[in-house]
Symmetry: C2
């Protein structure tokens, strides 16, 4: 497993090219011969689901996932029901767009009570599973970096995500491993092994030192300190050989021409993933 990852596995996570709309991103991938794309819902909404579907179908690109469902915790029953309804729409969009994976960013607590928020996440997933299953869509719990625990997700470690996912059949709920979120974890390799057969997505970027911005500060693969190749090999050893999404949230990348970014991605992917 020392070799470079196959180009056939490369996927552009659309947030990496936030400067592009959905059509531009699709055309860019086709031009750069990147075979996969992961679509974000705010980009789908800009042009509508039907048009998005048409663009994808005509392009020949494969959709690795839809980002994102989740955001389950909310202070009232009514709000939590609204979040669930929105998750059902996300499932429908994933199914329509031809992917079997909906990435879950599970959401922060509405207050200081992180324990209850975690219960609401579990409840939300439990309620969503039958609906997702009936649409042929798997839910991928993505643990986020603990620095996002207060504003993006109370699910902060792969161990926690594994434990939640294990209550379900792997065809229903799996985990999404993003190197940026998990690289610091002393249990990382052990938890990747534990996720065997349940990994439904693998995301790459890098941790730059110092981090230029807590949200928009991810780096191109190779520009930071993450042992991306070791992690990719461990993820493969745990049975995941699906698409590898490049997901870089970084303002300076958004300020560049998308085509240049895609070329750099291909080089960095070959050299560092």
């Amino acid at each position: 497993m020392e070799e470079q990852p196959a180009l056939e596995r490369l996927s552009l996570n659309q947030i990496t090219t936030e400067q592009w709309n959905l059509r531009e991103a699709v055309v860019g991938c086709v031009r750069a011969e990147i075979p996969w794309i992961s679509l974000w819902r705010h980009k789908i909404q800009e042009i509508g689901l039907a048009e998005s579907k048409r663009i994808i179908r005509d392009s020949g690109l494969k959709v690795s996932s839809v980002c994102r469902g989740g955001m389950f915790p909310a202070a009232t029953v009514k709000e939590r029901q609204e979040r669930l309804d929105d998750n059902k729409r996300a499932v429908e969009e994933a199914a329509e767009l031809g992917t079997d994976t909906l990435v879950l960013v599970c959401g922060p607590a509405p207050d200081r009570d992180i324990t209850t928020a975690r219960k609401w996440v579990e409840e939300g997933i439990e309620k969503l599973v039958p609906f997702a299953k009936s649409h042929g869509v798997k839910l991928g719990i993505e643990p986020l970096h603990p620095m996002y625990a207060a504003d993006r997700s109370v699910i902060t470690t792969l161990g926690q995500a594994n434990k939640m996912a294990e209550k379900y059949d792997p065809s229903e709920v799996g985990v999404v491993i993003d190197v940026f979120h998990v690289w610091w974890d002393p249990e990382l390799y052990q938890q990747i092994q534990r996720a065997q057969g349940r990994i439904v997505g693998f995301h790459v970027s890098d941790w730059i030192v110092p981090v230029p911005d807590m949200f928009k500060g991810r780096g191109m693969m190779g520009d930071g300190v993450i042992e991306i190749r070791s992690i990719r090999q461990a993820v493969e050893a745990a049975g995941y050989t699906g698409p590898i999404e490049v997901e870089i949230i970084n303002q300076s990348i958004w300020d560049r021409p998308g085509d240049d970014v895609l070329q750099e991605i291909k080089t960095s992917y070959a050299n560092h993933v």
Copy 2:
């Protein structure tokens, strides 16, 4: 354990008043009737160990800890030996200043190899323990927030710190629990329980949303989302009833008059710790 913490346990971690030198901080604590202080080495060095010792002795303040030893990983044997020598000086300073606790911020990797860096931390502690023991000083491993894994410490969870400390007698190596670093951890309460009899320090501040700065962005207790009181009670249930250090690294607090900060600390401590 519903009650407020005793004022007799309040300690000013000196980094909270970075605007003050050691003498000013000591005088400020005496004036505010804060009975403990935790000293930082760069402040000790400004005036020398002998003078620091004299000021402390004359003030009647008790020293809860010296911050900080650690920073063990380095690329060469020579550098690692220099780090160890510096840690020995930190132990001597702690002993001279009348505290039995040296806080360890264990250090980042010099490269991408976080696994080897962790081994160097373990080796460093192993080499330091006999020296510290002969000086009556306990080493307190402080897990840092994972967002500091690349530039401050490869020890990122209380579980990891517990595991490392458990190789030693509790009189030799313990753990320091800082709410800012550990609040997000799904295993937090379980790991606090595991640390029973081995907790040698407890630090408080808060996690503001959004975090104003990755390093200088900690909040006053009550201004953020951390369930400080619950954590304090769990730490007490695990047997720790020693000093509670207020450690807030925040530029806007450093820009204010220190006496005002100390008054606010006393109120926030009573209401939120």
